[in-house]
Assembly symmetry: C2
Homo-oligomer: 219 residues x 2
């Protein structure tokens, strides 16, 4: 768990074909390539991914458990997908959870975790300077993932990771303000400074501001 893997571009090679297929389908749903209500026929997926129905059915079972599709007995898999409303719901949930997460994380973070956070923030400053949007977004996710983990509350961590996955892929129209990179960096700096100062309340406030502004950057 505790590694800088997210800096590596091709970490996905460690995943099995079945896992890749699952993530591929999930992303297809979230990005809107598969529309809400659309039926997914097992045979089609078999041909698409070159596997038999057995693993395909297992994938569909897992996707159903995660809520992205609905499995109706004897009638097949139907895309539940994500509505605009669902994304709203998730942003609300994130702005509710994230401040408390930061608060706990500042109270409970270990030395190793703090050093990793420090290192990651240094990378953030670097990639902001080089204006590499893609790398910056990746490292932003890494920065937050370290904080989620440092909250030392498994449910908090898994809930926020789930929301980030959806936010990442859901068809979002983001208003990138003129200095988007530096804007986000400064929001994160406020959070990081709270960690440095070991000030949970300041962290919660900075997290609240960041979550709110993230929500506002949606069209």
């Amino acid at each position: 768990m505790l590694s800088l893997d997210f800096l590596n571009n091709d970490y996905e090679d460690t995943k099995s074909p079945a896992q890749k297929a699952e993530e591929y389908i999930a992303i297809d749903i979230l990005t809107g390539n598969l529309r809400r209500g659309q039926r997914i026929v097992e045979q089609d997926l078999c041909e698409k991914f070159g596997m038999s129905r057995t693993p395909v059915r297992e994938i569909l079972g897992r996707l159903a458990a995660s809520g992205l599709i609905e499995l109706i007995p004897n009638r097949g898999a139907f895309v539940v997908g994500i509505t605009e409303r669902d994304v709203d719901d998730i942003f609300y949930m994130k702005s509710l959870l994230y401040p408390q997460c930061v608060k706990w994380a500042i109270e409970r973070i270990t030395k190793d975790e703090y050093e990793m956070l420090e290192e990651t923030f240094a990378f953030m400053e670097f990639y902001t300077a080089t204006e590499d949007l893609e790398k910056m977004q990746k490292i932003n996710r890494g920065f937050e993932a370290i904080i989620y983990n440092a909250s030392h509350n498994t449910e908090m961590e898994s809930a926020l990771l789930k929301y980030d996955f959806i936010i990442r892929y859901a068809n979002l129209d983001i208003k990138y303000p003129l200095n988007y990179l530096t804007t986000v960096l400064e929001e994160h700096r406020a959070i990081f400074e709270a960690f440095r100062a070991r000030n949970p309340e300041a962290g919660a406030e900075a997290a609240q501001i960041h979550a709110f502004k993230s929500m506002m950057r949606r069209k």
Copy 2:
């Protein structure tokens, strides 16, 4: 979704054998019949539930997606289970989410939903009077489920339902105070009165108190 099904004792007959088996295994894990780290052999489950490996594997896939077991390639399923610490985490999460849930629910509840809540609360008073603990706990879950739904935030609802499922089955030692039934009824009454008065802030406060006291009732 909007029904008083939870009053019916044998609603589980509507579930497929595979769904029952899944729930049975999940409960086995949460109640501690299956210990953390223990390996689950597919063939054993086949014999136990009288089905072949194909549906059993699909069940294991779903349980893995929900986090109760871990699926290691070519090595099988291992019980992850729930630690005391995990239950603590979940109580913290519930006391964070539930007040906001009640607040939203009071702001957004429909007429139909409110009538159902009112009806359910009447049943709660009745079962408290008859001192039927089991029926009371069932209807308590129903009462909260209506509120979760009335928050009209899908993620809020599914998160709290998940926590309730775990809290229900995780090996908990609950300190039942002398007047447990009436105590809980009064906590719920405070929440219901906030609904009646359409007062979100009062609802959030009452929910906070209820969640806190629920947490304290653990040994």
